[in-house]
């Protein structure tokens, strides 16, 4: 008797012999080499991200293109992970769906360890330490944007190393609690007065805005302004003019940030042929995730196009 549950109900090999796979139809046999994605099929275009004073703005339009065909016009590419982080996907839509399912199962498993599921239980809430035990809520910590970005970039890097890439460029936005201040002996140089690290405000335990990029090669970077795809050419210069560095982002209000991103979405719609005038916009701050999925482009006017001659620089 086989004690392994997976053997239950199957003909016993010692009596009937091992299963003869040659009876299976040929399509089931491994006659073809395994194939991997060589190029994306249905794709989403740019994702924009902009940090502000107490959070991050993320935007992406609702279009999924099949080559030059505007194939699906109701595709939501900003995916909230939990109440702390949002992922914006550019690139292949089926790979985006795969990653979305992966994150969904990750979120379900996160909850099994007794992770907090309501705002009141959040470790950030001061009321959580009513019984005087600060460590009480530590085990309830959930993955924040930084943890999620690390996870996703490792998934992407693993897949590129297997020559089976997930054809996406993603932005991860949210809040993260900075590490405790490092010992002064090893990081600072008191005599050097010009020293200044452009990594945002002085380290404190208060959650700070987080925005980072990862792509199909596993390449990662972080910046107060980020964009994938065409947005890297068209939107980043506009966003950088308003927010050249972390210090500028720390002064920017939520309204200003949304306005800049909306302006960039308009430029992208005018200039990116694989874009559309309906998009999703998400603001993540200390209060949570505010996701709007059906924003129409405001004040659309092609009047400017009348004046453009040649490639744009031509005047006569």
């Amino acid at each position: 008797m086989n004690h392994l549950p997976q053997a239950w109900g199957r003909p016993r090999d010692d009596i009937y012999g091992a299963y003869d796979h040659s009876y299976l139809p040929q399509t089931h046999a491994n006659t073809h080499p395994t194939t991997h994605t060589q190029s994306p099929v249905v794709t989403g275009t740019s994702v924009l991200g902009l940090k502000f004073k107490d959070g991050v703005v993320l935007a992406a339009d609702n279009l999924a293109s099949y080559g030059s065909l505007a194939r699906f016009t109701d595709v939501k590419r900003l995916k909230p992970f939990n109440r702390k982080a949002v992922v914006g996907f550019g690139g292949d839509v089926s790979d985006m769906q795969y990653l979305d399912r992966l994150l969904n199962s990750l979120d379900v498993q996160e909850n099994y360890s007794g992770a907090a599921t309501t705002e009141e239980d959040d470790g950030e809430a001061p009321a959580a330490t009513a019984d005087g035990e600060g460590g009480e809520d530590k085990h309830k910590a959930i993955l924040d944007a930084k943890n999620l970005h690390t996870y996703l970039s490792k998934v992407l890097y693993k897949r590129r190393s297997d020559f089976n890439p997930l054809w996406n460029a993603i932005l991860v936005a949210g809040l993260t609690t900075p590490p405790p201040p490092a010992p002064s002996t090893s990081t600072s140089s008191p005599k050097d007065t010009t020293t200044s690290k452009p990594t945002g405000p002085a380290p404190s335990r208060k959650p700070i805005p987080y925005l980072a990029y990862a792509d199909l090669l596993g390449t990662t970077y972080s910046s107060p302004t980020l964009a994938t795809g065409f947005g890297a050419h068209l939107a980043v210069p506009i966003m950088r003019r308003a927010v050249p560095d972390e210090a500028a982002a720390a002064k920017l209000s939520r309204e200003e940030a949304v306005e800049i991103v909306k302006k960039c979405m308009k430029v992208l719609f005018y200039r990116d042929a694989r874009s559309m005038n309906e998009y999703s916009l998400c603001v993540i701050d200390g209060k949570g995730v505010d996701l709007q999925e059906n924003i129409k482009l405001e004040g659309e006017s092609w009047a400017f196009a009348e004046g453009i001659k040649g490639y744009g620089t031509q005047t006569v």
Partner: protein, 267 residues
């Protein structure tokens, strides 16, 4: 006649001097499929290392690029290795990687794990020369799908002298006094040859001719070396578009690692 026959392969099929157009792949063929996915990219930037009598300086710009785009103005290429926890408390080894940043991160995480495991298992810090050899092995083990990076490892050796090791992507390494790597390496390295190893510098008073005695390199002073690094980078920034934004320097002495950041031109 021999020239004609050389266009015919031994199998009797004609070959051409230009690439043959391939017939459409048929599903019946068992030939492996050619992958069109290229798993590498170049993220630009430059690094350099100089070792002195009792210190090592590792420096790198903080720009990350892809093509003509600047991804970000602050993406460090210098990583503390070992030490305690994710903050690397007490670490005395620095790894710099330039080339394909994703491979660089993977490499740094592997080396960091190795160095930390060494301390858990042996109860003492790993020496720089041991760490250097281990890094070589990590790179060499992946030589058929290499980490596309030029690595420089710095620390202080067991005698307290500055130790600097430089690597090619498949693990060939040597201990040096100075090394520049990355996009601006060809601009910085000759400058370092001249200023650190005093190449092409001769006794000023010596007579002209083949017998000119070369200047002998003297142990470097820390302050002067820091200035040298700054000069090297400000010059490289002027001549290379992938170098700029910020200069991150880590100075490793027997007391630990000091980090200095100074701005570079952002154009």
């Amino acid at each position: 006649m021999a020239a004609f026959t050389s266009y015919v392969s031994s199998a009797g099929q004609p070959s051409y001097s230009f690439p043959q157009q391939q017939s459409a792949p048929s599903h019946a063929s068992r030939a492996p499929i050619q992958h069109s996915f290229y798993p590498y990219t170049d993220n630009g930037g430059s690094t350099l290392g100089i070792s002195g009598d009792n210190f090592t300086i590792i420096a790198g710009d903080t720009r990350s690029t892809s093509g003509y785009n600047i991804n970000t103005r602050y993406e460090p290429k210098l990583f503390r290795i070992g030490g305690e926890g994710s903050e690397h408390k007490g670490s005395k080894i620095v790894l710099s990687v330039v080339g394909f940043a994703a491979d660089g991160h993977a490499l740094k995480e592997r080396l960091d794990t190795v160095v930390k495991m060494y301390r858990y298992q042996h109860g003492k810090e790993m020496s720089v020369n041991a760490c250097a050899q281990r890094l070589s092995h990590i790179l060499y083990n992946k030589r058929f799908f290499p980490y596309y990076v030029q690595a420089i490892l710095g620390g202080v050796d067991e005698e307290g002298r500055g130790a600097l090791y430089s690597y090619d992507p498949v693990g060939s390494y040597e201990r040096e006094f100075c090394r520049a790597a990355g996009a601006g390496a060809s601009l910085i390295m000759p400058f370092l040859d001249n200023q650190v190893n005093l190449k092409n510098q001769y006794e000023p008073a010596a007579p002209q001719g083949l017998e000119k005695p070369q200047l002998v390199p003297q142990p470097l002073q820390r302050a002067a070396t820091e200035e040298l690094v700054r000069d090297a980078f400000t010059s490289a920034v002027e001549r290379h578009i992938e170098v700029g934004d910020g200069l991150q320097m880590m100075i490793i002495t027997k007391d630990g690692i000091e980090e200095v950041f100074s701005p570079l031109k952002m154009d």
